[in-house]
């Protein structure tokens, strides 16, 4: 039984059947990649995991509990973190403040009226946030305004904000989309490091085959809203069906 169990998920937008009948099982402590050509329904599927969309049919179970009908913040509190295609961080705040917010959310839940405490006096959380920044090599940027950083650093910060909450499942939505080669390689290294150092399950949606094949333990290929194959990276590489769906041709 996987940590994330998707059974018979379907989603229709008007006349478009975005997801047909998706069955998927993400095993604990693995990196599971979901790939597929544009319009295959990858993002729709991801949005069904985090409470942004509610599927018309099927079930999404995480850690034995259904995710359907829950809001994004409830799902995050259950231990599912999400990294976005373009890094979503608190641009108006500095790096350290960005890190403190997930720390508070993890400790205090989705709301707490702590209006007369001081952020600086929460030494435990400050330490935790700083340790995380050291882990991702950003401690020297702790006072920097988050919006003034490079895209690679923003991605790193976003990742750190997710990881500091010790999520059971980390969802990544095209984490290297639109990145320069160097930044992409940086991100791959960071993800590899995270995978080695922590017991974490990741589900990753990606276009870039280089990223997928250097990270994934298991790959599901999605085409026109239904899973085509699910297998290990080595087998996927040479699978004729995948080549056909992905490249639109069969190479001789």
């Amino acid at each position: 039984m996987g940590i994330l169990e998707v059974k018979g998920v379907g989603k229709r937008f008007g006349g478009l059947q975005a997801l047909g009948d998706v069955n998927l099982s993400v095993q604990e402590n693995t990196v599971h990649a979901i790939i597929g050509p544009n319009g295959a329904g990858k993002s729709t599927l991801l949005n069904c995991f985090v409470g942004k969309l509610i599927p018309d049919t099927g079930s999404v179970m995480f850690d034995g509990q259904s995710l359907l009908g829950r809001t994004p913040y409830e799902i995050t509190q259950m231990g599912v973190s999400r990294v976005f295609q373009t890094p979503e961080i608190f641009g108006d705040l500095n790096v350290m403040e960005n890190m403190m917010i997930p720390c508070f959310a993890k400790r205090d839940g989705s709301f707490r009226m702590h209006a007369f405490e001081s952020v600086a006096e929460e030494t435990d959380l400050v330490e935790k946030a700083e340790q995380m920044l050291i882990d991702v090599n950003m401690i020297d940027k702790r006072h920097m305004h988050a919006s003034s950083m490079s895209r690679g650093d923003k991605r790193r910060l976003e990742m750190a904000m997710c990881l500091v909450q010790d999520p059971k499942l980390l969802l990544l939505d095209e984490p290297t989309a639109g990145m320069a080669r160097a930044d992409t390689n940086n991100t791959i290294d960071l993800l590899k490091e995270i995978k080695e150092k922590r017991d974490i399950t990741m589900a990753i949606i990606e276009h870039d085959m280089h990223v997928v094949f250097s990270l994934a333990d298991r790959i599901t290929v999605l085409a026109q809203g239904t899973p085509l194959v699910e297998d290990s990276p080595d087998k996927i590489k040479d699978h004729p069906k995948v080549r056909e769906a992905y490249l639109g041709e069969t190479q001789q």
């Binding site: 985090v50 809001t71 994004p72 913040y73 995050t76 509190q77 973190s81 999400r82 976005f84 979503e88 961080i89 608190f90 641009g91 108006d92 705040l93 500095n94 403040e97 403190m100 917010i101 997930p102 508070f104 959310a105 993890k106 205090d108 839940g109 989705s110 709301f111 707490r112 009226m113 702590h114 209006a115 007369f116 405490e117 001081s118 952020v119 600086a120 929460e122 940027k141 006072h143 920097m144 305004h145 003034s148 904000m161 909450q165």
Partner: protein
Amino acid sequence: MLGLDKKDMKFLLIVTFLTLATPILLQPFPEGSGLAQFNAGYPDLMQRFAIFGIFAIGFNILFGLTGYLSFGHAAFLGVGSYSAVWMFKLLSMNVLPGLVLAVIMSGLFALVIGYVSLRRSGIYFSILTLAFAQMSYNLAYSVLTPITNGETGLQVTLNDPRILGQQVSASGNVPGTHFFGIEMGAAQKIAIGSWEFTFSAGYYFCAIIAIIAFYLSLRIFRSPFGLMLRAIKSNQQRLNYTGLNARPYTLAAFVISGMYAGLAGGLLASMDPLAGAERMQWTASGEVVLMTILGGVGTMMGPVLGAGVIKYMENIFSKINDQVLHQWFGWLPDSLESIVIWAAEHFVGSGWHMTSGVLFMIVVIFLPGGLVEGGQRIKSYFKNRRGGDSDDPEHHPKQAPHVAE
């Protein structure tokens, strides 16, 4: 100390000192001199500085931190005033129960209005709050006349029960408001040379409450709660996916700022025991938005500065009339004088709105961070000229601006 770090403590002490010394600082010109009309050290105006300062500080907790622009905060000001006057009528002329009820009632009002309005954000939120405030304003004039006394406004009279206090003063009039015996209307004039300073009990009462309000707001700014509010303004998407529910945070901020507005309304009534519906009109809601933006949104000092500037212009510029202008420009040749006066009179007297409008435009265009940003720019200009910091700015990562400045 007091839960503040050294820098904030220093900041609070400076603000406290400036507030307490206001009756002297705002009286820089000797009596009888031509510039004496620019003195602002009279009790009525100073009380307004403090009261509208409180109003703006509270508004800034909502608008400055969360970015939710309420266009209906005057409703809470009005609710506060009515509540306080009712306490003066029923209980006693002591301002304390009046202020307590003002804060509670405006908090309840804010809870209801906020609960509904915060279902939307952006312009829709603004419109909803505006609609609620206009509704309150119209209700005060019509259906709620038994509570608000309609157009005449709610006043204290000789027939009021005042079960805990004096019904009629020794001289046969309605007694004045007081705080455990300290008359709000009491004032002490002290003349030093040709300067005359007025120390009024009412002003100092407002000033002390304003300092407390400022201190509480400083604590909120530095708290995890304040951090969450700033996060809401910055990126609600990320906030949601960090496991935080924005709704209760924004509602709490809305209620707190509503209570600040109610406190300000209660204080207005405490200084002058009278409450009218015009206090709830949309222009009054707009005024606090202008104050906050003029001073600097999201800064600690900005809203207070903005409130001061607008109230100063409203009271001082509006007093300058034709005669004063003739005195100023009398030295010009007659034909030129009449042209200059014709142009100038549009900006003074009842035309003071024109001046404040121009000032507002200049600030918004050239100093988006408000007057506080202006101050910071001047400060850094002088710092650079002294050459204290000759390091290459390129090699200094930009520091996040400190929210207190």
